[in-house]
Amino acid sequence: MLIMENIRLALMSLKANKMRALLTMLGIIIGISSVIGIMTVGDSLTEKVNSSLGGMGLSTLSVGLNLRKDENGNYPENYPEPQDKDFYTVEMLKKYQETFPEIVKGFAINKNAGAGELSAGSKHTAITVVGGTKDYLETNRKKYVAGELFSIPMMQNGSQVIIISNKAAKELYGDNVDLNAIIGNEVQASLDNKFFNYTIVGVYELDESPYEQLFGSGRSSDAYIPYKTAAKLTHTTCIQSFDVIIDATVNGADFGQKTQQFFERYYKHNPNFTAYAFSMAAAMDSISGMMNSITAAIAVIAGIALLVGGIGVMNIMLVSITERTREIGTRKALGAPNSSIRLQFVVEAVVICIIGGIIGVILGILMGKVGASLMNTECVISAKSILLSLGSSMGIGVFFGYYPANKAAKMDPIEALRYE
């Protein structure tokens, strides 16, 4: 008997028992939609992480200060403020670059120049001013919606120029501000009761996605000035933390350890602080490791849901063949061979599972889209996961449909015809 006839037959029998069919499919729907949902979110997240770290991430190390633990391995109760003597110095960085000349390509350094208020005319907004080197500002990958990054002369001279967020611009100039028109405007910053005048050269767009709020470092109040300007402002050249731009071919995690060992020598006798180096590559590994374990956990849950769904399908098929015993007997009397009866019921189970699978894929994609939009990322739907889902639905149908179908096929036609 033709497979198309069987599919038509299966659809007709499902149509006759819509509610039952839907309940039967539920396990399959839940299993498949959770697989598709988590895979879509995972793929989207990986894509996001890769694209946001792609420029700098895989080839940078972050170096900073850590509080020293006491002999019991606890952090001190009173956090000491780092003093100038605790910070990294330009000499240390020079020495470091001389030690690893092949690997260290540059430093992205930022300096906290203080927090306070920014005002234009009568309006104010809270501000945290960060001084950054060229490498820092370039690898920070802000999206500029007006103006541009500081020019090299501005950096070298330590000019009084500033880059603010679009949110800060709106607070200063109103919601309907033309961002391009404010480029070149003078603003006044009051930091620690001292006043500085800056010229706006750029406006960046604040990433307000939940993803950025969870994993990002951006604050809406962040404004950037050249590193030299910040150094002049704070009257110090010492460095609290910095990023090292390293050769992309070097193993970041290994070189991170070497870097930490290098700087720890300077802090051997420091009672309060130690050096630490943090590799984005290692962080990436831990993020993807975390994603993998989440995926594995969901896969196990989905597997259980699919198993339960499959057993549900088997159960309903057993009920179905019992209800249709006379039909089976009649078909046999009309000359249906056992193989044709078996095929009919296997196809019915497969059709139930595939329809469940399709509903699951659609729900999963919707879930993935919601997840991706929460993270403000592009929703990446992999064809692989869809094909895998539909394939496994079909497999479940064949596997769990075979036993009831075979039972139907082996019925004695006389008994079946006599069944009430």
Binding site: M1, M12, S13, G329, T330, G335, P337, I414
Partner: protein, 237 residues
């Protein structure tokens, strides 16, 4: 009488149930029966006489414990299960007391079913099914589901289905048993028409002596043995 083709040849058919157990039961005790092409035969007998068992054997749904059965030149008793399916499909048209139409499936598709199992292609199937439904006067209700049809209409669809593959015999088991006498008459008339116009070989199993009398030949079964084989009034019809 000229030499007629033998359609059913039963020789020494014995059917036992629960073989080897203390309550072994011999339902058919050596049946010898020959039915010729174009005959309209009634098999009558009280319940428990072995009618149904004999029908199952003639219909190739069951195998005898002993004896030989040749149907339209094929030795059924030598066939494997898969071959029995093919014999049922090609050579036998079943008509049941309870119609046994496939629910949720319209009249046309019910009639198409034996054609489907015979591997007939879609278009030919529906043409043939429509032709058969017209023959039994059901051309107006081809798209109706069994639940939308009366008992008599259902049985007419069932007869059309039995005729689908132009079988060697039509095997009707109490076809009017569930119908009132007027509708039963209508159904019987269809069998007579199939017999008279298409010269179908028809085996009718019934416990009603009046219906049996309408046939050409009446075979009486009692306690698993043939106790009577005589012409009926049907010869004159």
């Amino acid at each position: 009488m000229e030499e007629r083709k033998k359609i059913i040849e039963l020789s020494g058919i014995v059917k036992k149930f629960f073989i080897g157990s203390p309550n072994e039961l011999t339902v058919l005790k050596g049946i010898d029966l020959t039915v010729y092409e174009g005959e309209f035969v009634a098999i009558v007998g009280a319940s428990g006489s072995g009618k149904s068992t004999l029908m199952n054997i003639i219909g190739s749904l069951d195998r005898p414990t002993e004896g030989g059965y040749v149907l339209d030149g094929v030795k059924v008793t030598d066939c494997r299960d898969s071959e029995l399916s093919r014999i049922r499909n090609a050579k036998i048209g079943f008509v049941f007391q309870t119609y046994n139409l496939i629910a949720k499936t319209n009249a046309l598709m019910n009639v198409e079913l034996p054609l489907l199992y015979a591997g007939v292609s879609g278009k030919k199937r529906s043409e043939r099914a429509a032709e058969l439904l017209t023959l039994v006067g059901m051309e107006d209700r081809m798209k109706h589901l069994p639940e939308e049809l009366s008992g008599g209409q259902k049985q007419r669809v069932a007869i059309a289905r039995a005729m689908a593959n132009d079988p060697a015999i039509v095997l009707a088991d109490e076809p009017t048993g569930a119908l009132d006498s007027a509708t039963g008459r209508l159904v019987m008339d269809i069998f007579h028409r199939l017999h008279d116009e298409q010269h179908k070989t028809i085996v009718l199993i019934t416990h009603s002596p009046e219906l049996a009398e309408e046939c050409e030949r009446v075979i009486t079964l009692k306690d698993g043995e043939i106790t009577g084989d005589r012409p009926g009034r049907g010869k004159a019809c």
